[in-house]
């Protein structure tokens, strides 16, 4: 991980690669990019932002204008309104997007907390407790990442039917937990296993049992890994379509925004005033979370690569 820079010992007469890297940053060896390369970068940045910008501007235009003229004409004739957001959120005429928004929220919070909690417990068990079959069990849990969730959907649906849970939030809470666990355990194991054993030994001598060690030492020190996985799982469940479509259907009682918007695109593809506003209502939450927690997210992404 690039943010953790070990300070090289100046007396050792030898610089670690990381120390070198620090020096390189301040040295003027940076080649200035050729104009061609700058143009390429600008083109990429444009293609990556203008489509979003276009829909954002569209979401603030009158439905009539949206259907008649391109969003780019709004620059010469600026006339904006928040009516699209109001009608998306209003309850008149059946279901409101607010219902789906609440569903997304209610689905996402437990779907993030559940795997986080169980994975933290398991990661501690796998790294600090001694029991027969430990390594073997860990490999099985880790290896289950290879199962595509499609393989599990139909049998799980029957299982939920037997338990009388069909159509409830519990189906997605449990499913997201199950599908998230292999990666969650793996990410937290990597961080919890690397804690210094001396810390644990010192606490044991002070009379702390394994449970206290887990709560007072391991959990606080594993916070970066917990945050990294937490934001990962939050984005994944908030943005999920397949799991919710399968277990919850399209009802406003339980279905999340993604399902609603996906249906709206298919059935009423022409209603851009609703679609554009709806899309941004669904986008705003993960984008804010992402921007606030970007550091942890990047750390989670690069953990696998740099390790």
């Amino acid at each position: 991980m690039t943010t953790v820079v070990a300070t090289p010992d100046p007396e050792a007469g030898e610089l670690t690669p990381k120390g070198k890297r620090k020096r390189r940053r301040s040295s003027p060896t940076r080649q200035t990019s050729s104009p061609l390369m700058t143009v390429v970068a600008i083109i990429i940045a444009t293609v990556w932002t203008v489509p979003t910008l276009g829909l954002l501007i569209t979401s603030f235009r009158e439905p009539m204008d949206i259907r008649r003229t391109g969003w780019w004409t709004a620059f010469s004739n600026p006339e904006f309104t928040i009516d699209n957001y109001v009608s998306a959120m209003s309850t008149s005429g059946g279901a409101s997007m607010l219902d789906y928004f609440v569903n997304s929220f209610v689905i996402t919070i437990p779907s993030t907390l559940f795997p986080l909690t169980f994975a933290a417990l398991a990661a501690y068990g796998f790294s600090w407790l001694k029991f027969p079959g430990r390594d073997w069990l860990f490999i099985v849990v880790f290896a289950l990442q290879i199962v595509p969730l499609q393989v599990a959907l139909v049998p799980l649906m029957q299982l939920y039917g037997d338990l009388n849970l069909q159509g409830t939030y519990w189906t997605v809470w449990i499913s997201h937990t199950i599908f998230g666990l292999p990666l969650a355990v793996f990410m937290m194991f990597n961080s919890i296993r690397d804690l210094p054993p001396a810390l644990v030994e010192a606490a044991t001598i002070d009379g702390a049992g394994p449970v206290q060690i887990f709560l007072r030492i391991v959990l606080p020190l594993a916070t970066p890994a917990i945050a990294a996985y937490g934001i990962f799982q939050f984005l994944w469940t908030w943005n999920d379509l397949l799991v919710s479509m399968v277990f919850l259907g399209g009802s406003a009682d339980v279905a999340p925004l993604t399902v609603y918007i996906s249906q709206l695109t298919g059935s009423r593809g022409g209603q851009w005033y609703l679609l554009s506003a709806g899309a941004f209502i669904s986008i705003i939450v993960p984008v804010v979370v992402f921007l606030l927690m970007q550091r942890y997210f990047v750390r989670g992404l690069t953990a696998g690569a740099v390790k």
């Binding site: 890297r21 391109g70 969003w71 029991f131 599908f179 669904s282 970007q294």
Partner: protein, 316 residues
């Protein structure tokens, strides 16, 4: 609505209660075999969940895939024969292959190029956030964004889709990008590249920054520059990260569902395996065939992940 939040807090309450009970029981464990007992409470819930929720369903699905279209008939290979002989399903397999080839290749090419260009410029972090932001957006949201870019109107009418407006500006005829096969596949693939390039850029940029300076300096002194430096020094140095990114994006492309479902519903020859899986299992009443498609995905994904893990092991 209050009821919904009530259910959420109830779920969180249940979680807290379960954890308290588990930790209490674990703290009661004493003696020489204490760790064994404690492990039951720490590791047990996870093992139970993945056993019931992943291993058991996988076995059921594999069995079902061999028992006819309904998944309840006599043992046989009918579903697998169907996958490779029915015209629509064969076209989905070809489409999926195109996704798996193009998405990693182009996402990495663009992400890597962009990372190198903006590296150590004053606006590096801002420039990177622009490319990275689509990662936070759902595939459904991205599909809506791009569907609007592709929106079609007859050439003489005022355009509302950006791409057709550009074509019209240059004097061309407007097109129905999502309808005209086989090019519509490419326009769907663009959305996935748009989402994944940020991931490639972030991981590869971190890897490039980790290349020790003396290696670059030494190569420069030896006269390497530009392309030679890139192909002979940079690329080999980031090999492990590159493999990780290729495999991760390839798997995402292999399982792509949301984009196809939202943008075309799999119509006009744009379907992929994951979309056929959904249709067969949940709308066409052929869970046996759906199971066979799920198993096909499994068989395709598994070797990629095994390869990835091996590479990571070797690297560390």
């Amino acid at each position: 609505m209050l009821d919904k939040f009530g259910q959420m807090f109830l779920a969180i309450g249940v979680l807290v209660a379960v954890v308290v009970v588990l930790l209490l029981l674990a703290s009661l464990a004493r003696g020489r075999n204490g760790d064994r007992l404690r492990a039951l409470f720490f590791v047990g819930p996870t093992v139970l969940l993945v056993a019931v929720g992943l291993i058991y369903p996988t076995v059921l699905t594999i069995i079902k895939s061999f028992r006819g279209p309904a998944g309840t008939g006599a043992f046989g290979f009918d579903n697998y024969v169907t996958i490779f002989t029915r015209e629509a399903l064969r076209s989905s397999i070809v489409n999926t292959a195109i996704w798996v080839l193009l998405v990693p290749l182009l996402a990495i090419a663009i992400g890597l190029l962009y990372a190198i260009i903006v590296d150590r410029t004053p606006i590096e972090s801002f420039a990177k956030t622009l490319i990275f932001l689509p990662m936070a957006i759902s595939m459904v949201g991205a599909s809506v964004i791009w569907k609007f870019v592709y929106e079609y109107k007859p050439t003489q009418a005022d355009q509302i889709g950006l791409l057709n407006q550009i074509i019209k500006m240059f004097g061309g005829e407007t097109r129905q990008f999502l309808v005209e096969s086989p090019w519509n596949n490419f326009f769907l693939i663009v959305v996935m590249i748009w989402i994944q390039a940020g991931f490639a850029m972030t991981v590869l940029s971190a890897a490039i920054k980790a290349i020790p300076d003396e290696i670059i300096e030494a190569a420069r002194i030896d006269g390497a520059s530009g392309w030679a430096l890139f192909w002979q020094i940079t690329l080999p140095s980031i090999r492990a990260s590159l493999i990780m990114v290729v495999t991760t994006i390839a798997i995402a492309a292999l399982k792509v569902f949301d984009i196809v479902r939202t943008m075309t519903g799999g119509n006009w020859d744009t379907s992929v395996i994951a979309n056929d899986f959904y249709s067969a299992s949940f709308t066409q009443g052929q869970p046996g065939l759906g199971s066979a498609l799920a198993v096909l995905l499994f068989v395709l994904v598994a070797p990629i992940i095994v390869y990835n893990v091996r590479q990571l092991r070797e690297a560390s």
